[in-house]
């Protein structure tokens, strides 16, 4: 699992998600995963620069072994976090609304 603040994978989802901010100097790369030597491993990317404008939780499998998620708080009623619960052999991902 890779954690980032910027939604560096914007190009991989054709800008389907809106970041809170794209600084003028920033040019997101066309293939944001080219540098990662994954092999057969699975990658989940969670990026937090979201939520300020009421953006919804975003989730997409961009390839066979890469899943991207953006989620952040913005002071809205549907703000949520991600809770991962695991034991020795399995794990669950849950999106949990914080204002319920």
């Amino acid at each position: 699992m890779l954690i980032s603040h910027p939604i560096f994978w914007l190009e991989a989802v054709d800008y389907a998600v809106q970041p809170n901010n794209i600084p003028d100097k920033v040019i997101p790369v066309e293939d944001p995963f080219e540098w990662i030597e994954l092999g057969n491993k699975n990658l989940i990317v969670i990026s937090g620069d979201s939520g300020k404008w009421g953006q919804k939780f975003y989730y997409e499998e961009v390839s066979r072994n890469i899943t991207v998620i953006s989620n952040g708080l913005g002071g809205y009623s549907n703000d949520s976090i991600i809770k991962i619960m695991e034991d020795e052999n399995r794990f669950t991902f849950e999106r949990v609304k914080i204002n319920n």
């Binding site: 997101p28 030597e37 976090i81």
Partner: protein, 172 residues
């Protein structure tokens, strides 16, 4: 006796040459990784962890409050959080970065999480950040995951080369 001694000396010499060759080849095989990062980075490890992943957590409803969102703090108060619960923050702990606001965020976080990491956000960038939170690169290994985080606030939104190499080195 002399022959025995000569044979022993020869064996020691061979052993030393072999050891030196092995050590040298190990270092030649390691990819280009910043020595500082390689030797200072430790992979934290936890069993059966519950992990909270939280992004853009600064207070947005009250511009005079430069800490963690009160809604999030209320939520955390309602959760069962123990020493094995990990807090992963995906950046923007504070609205305006300065030593006081970052220290305040740290104290707020440490009220809930013994183990926590922050993938630094653009709002967290301040010269005092590393003194308060430590290195921007982090890694944590649990039963099911390897969790890695780095500073992606660059001109192409990718980590610097030494962090890329470190990430690839760890996942390999």
């Amino acid at each position: 006796m002399k022959t025995l001694l000569r044979s022993f000396t020869k064996r020691i010499k061979n052993f030393l040459i072999l050891s030196f060759t092995l050590i040298l080849s190990y270092f030649l095989m390691v990819p280009e990784v910043s020595c500082n990062n390689l030797f200072n980075s430790k992979i934290n490890s936890l069993n059966k962890a519950d992990i909270f992943v939280m992004g853009h957590v600064y207070e947005t409803n009250n511009e005079t409050d430069d800490g963690i969102s009160q809604n999030l703090l209320n939520f955390l108060n309602s959760q069962r959080i123990d020493d094995k619960t990990v807090g992963i923050f995906s950046g923007d702990l504070v609205r305006s970065p300065n030593e006081i606001s970052l220290m305040n965020a740290k104290l707020q976080i440490e009220k809930y999480f013994k183990t926590y990491f922050n993938a630094i956000g653009n709002h967290d960038k301040h010269e005092s950040y590393s003194n308060i939170f430590g290195e921007t690169f982090f890694s944590l290994e649990t039963n099911n995951f390897l969790i890695l985080g780095a500073d992606f606030n660059t001109n192409n939104w990718l980590p610097i080369n030494s962090d890329k190499n470190l990430i690839n080195y760890i996942i390999s």
